[in-house]
Point group: C2
Chain length 426, copies 2
């Protein structure tokens, strides 16, 4: 079977004109022909007018760059999608960015549009990689502060950031909420942040929460001699973002969070253009797009897009019992935050679900750098000794790791760490 060569990268192919997307797809059919079908679906399914001798594919057609069979199986991922045998094929597809420009919604439509999921012969597909030419990437804002900027703001030169999600997350009044944040800061927490479920609500108006947390933060900074950060979650209808940004930052928040996927990455980019403070991205909704192997999208691709949009801190699912995320996936997300990407600054990677001081050595090993954050909730706020003790337990764990001392050894003299290991496991 010959496949139309118009769908394949030829001698005149110039990578800088394309966004390269790597897909792994499942098919009963010819891998090269099927990869060509994906190109057709995602660019120019009909490339000439009736009665006109033309071919729009030269400039506007997506191109197959490579095709490789990874494995075979007898069962499809989604039952009923054919008789098999099925090949799992990795294909690199080049999408001409003249078709969509450096715009996040339009880029997403090309990378994850209906076409790839409904291409004839494709019974399952997953986007596993993304490569952008530097000049194309440079059209996106990227983080305003980046890792270096966060270190400067908080005067933390050489260790991981300890970020706590204030709990109870829902239902506390602003004074009660701020009191918990203050205790945690006093104990050694760097950053206290709103939960992803907590917005601007009548029982906790953002303006009042920000004001109370701002006052508490100032007290904690004076008492500890350390810089502290309060991250207000301003996830809301996009028309409210400018006012929420202004109110929160004026009153006491020195960083802001968005649930970036429910908001849309373009809302994040818009906020980035106005933001005076670092932006934090929560990964809510990501699981629905990433948790089925062989289908959807690798989380690190979404992390890259969040970095392009302008987030300084990016949360993603971590290893451990709760999130079932492999070490390889966590590493890929860390790379997506930190690796060179044209002139785009690095973002601080934060693997969610690591709630205990006991997780620190493992987190450090996986990251291979101190440029990351830990984001406990109950590990700080449900510590038997309360939030100050909870925060202290993390700093004690860091002191142990820094000095090459085992946590169990350190716990003999560090009471809060000992309580944590007892309450939450080693």
């Amino acid at each position: 079977m010959t496949v139309d060569p118009a769908w394949f990268a030829g001698p005149s192919f110039n990578r800088d004109d394309y966004v390269l997307a790597t897909y792994v797809f499942e098919t009963e059919r010819d891998p090269r022909r099927t990869a060509a079908h994906i190109c057709q679906e995602q660019s120019t399914p009909q490339w000439r007018r009736v009665g006109v001798d033309e071919d729009l594919r030269g400039k506007h057609g997506a191109k197959v760059v490579s095709v490789r069979v990874l494995s075979e199986s007898t069962q499809p991922l989604i039952p009923g999608r054919g008789h098999g045998p099925f090949r799992h094929v990795e294909a690199v597809i080049a999408h001409p960015h003249v078709n969509f420009g450096p715009r996040l919604p339009n880029l997403l439509a090309v990378l994850l549009g209906e076409g790839i999921f409904y291409t004839a012969g494709v019974s399952a597909i997953r986007l596993t990689g993304l490569w952008l030419p530097d000049a194309y990437a440079a059209a996106f804002p990227g983080p305003q502060f980046g890792v270096r900027g966060l270190r400067d703001l908080l005067a933390i030169p050489d260790r991981p950031f300890f970020i706590g999600v204030v709990k109870p997350n829902i239902g506390l009044s602003p004074p009660d909420f701020a009191a918990l944040a203050e205790q945690a800061w006093m104990g050694g927490l760097d950053i206290a942040k709103d939960d992803e479920m907590l917005g601007d609500m009548p029982w906790s108006p953002l303006a009042e929460r920000a004001a109370r947390c701002g006052e508490a933060r100032a007290r904690a900074e004076r008492a500890t001699g350390e810089r502290k950060m309060y991250v207000a979650n301003i996830t809301d209808e996009i028309d409210r973002l400018p006012d929420l940004h202004d109110a929160a930052t004026r009153l006491g928040a020195n960083a802001l969070m968005l649930n970036s996927l429910p908001m849309g990455l373009s809302a994040a980019r818009s906020l980035r253009a106005r933001a005076q403070v670092p932006l934090v991205s929560h990964f809510i909704l990501l699981a629905a797009l990433t948790r089925v192997p062989g289908f959807g999208v690798d989380s690190h691709v979404l992390t890259t897009l969040q970095r392009l949009a302008g987030f300084d801190v990016i949360l993603f699912p971590g290893t451990g019992e709760r999130m079932h995320t492999t070490e390889a996936e966590v590493r890929a997300n860390i790379r997506a935050c930190l690796q060179p990407l044209g002139r785009i600054l690095p973002a601080l990677p934060v693997a969610g679900g690591s709630s205990r001081p006991a997780d620190l050595p493992e987190s450090l090993r996986i990251a291979g750098t101190v440029d990351f954050g830990m984001v406990p909730g109950r590990g700080v706020f449900n510590h038997p000794g309360g939030p100050a003790a909870g925060a202290r337990s993390f700093r004690q764990a860091w002191d142990a790791v820094k000095d090459g001392v085992a946590l169990a050894e350190k716990a003999k003299t560090a009471g809060e760490l000992r309580q944590s290991l007892e309450a939450f496991g080693e």
Copy 2:
């Protein structure tokens, strides 16, 4: 095993205070306890401060309304998620809307947030239903025009709407693009629309495309005596939406389209507040959230959210070979568009992938009403006789159906329909 009754709807439960979400989940564990865990994850995982005697769950905790075991299986949906046997459980969970308010990003975070996907013991989960109290739904805008408004605008009292996606979708200059739309309108198309991949691009600036299509539309309206519609896809970074709206509608577009999921539903709601014209939603990205049975979300739930956000026309995947969508799913989407929803107007349902006149009788049977649209691409624009003939073939098919004549019979005297049946199948 007893389960904490605080997680279950009790005698004082008032439905009007809650959004009810139906989930089907897979678990090895006790169904009621697992449903309670979902409530905990999605509301108040920690419901009291350390050292404070309080329980925030009364007002802020999600509640289990019902639990029902549907089936059992020995294999998990996602390999490696336990040993089995697995139960498939349908649970109705009540989310207190005091936690998130009538705000689309915040509602999405509760319905599809990380919590449900990472609840202990839940190896797979799918959101299958959504019920909103009328007073809560009334806080959303819903469609501005609705089905009735669209019928008035286009003076189409009693038949389906014929919507054509201009193809070639990518690469045509605005004059060439408008010429195709004009031919299709002349042949009987009601609505010509941009493809979801076509935005405001240097080789087809939206302003020029809208101007040319506006002129073409005026000519077609004069020639046919019918009202016509041009739908411009203004999917772009959200900061550009107001200008794109203003330019497109001033110059010649009398409806606008968004790729609503990549843009974010809140961007749609924002556009709805400004829009002078009907809004059309394309379903791009929906496949990634909906195509794996037992995981993610039913498409009709997303359709309901798009209706709440303010779309007058909502596209979703249709039956047929291309989209593998069941009739039941298409019907559920049609219901989500048309069924009563407080004071929110009905939206026009459009099942994608129905590109041929031959599909009309089946589409009508599935819809059970003429309140729907068909959205061919190549069925109009790749018709052997060109776009005018392609559009005419749809109107001929409608005339046949209306008169109770079989399409094959009608084709004996209707040449364009005959060509269509020959080219695209019966």
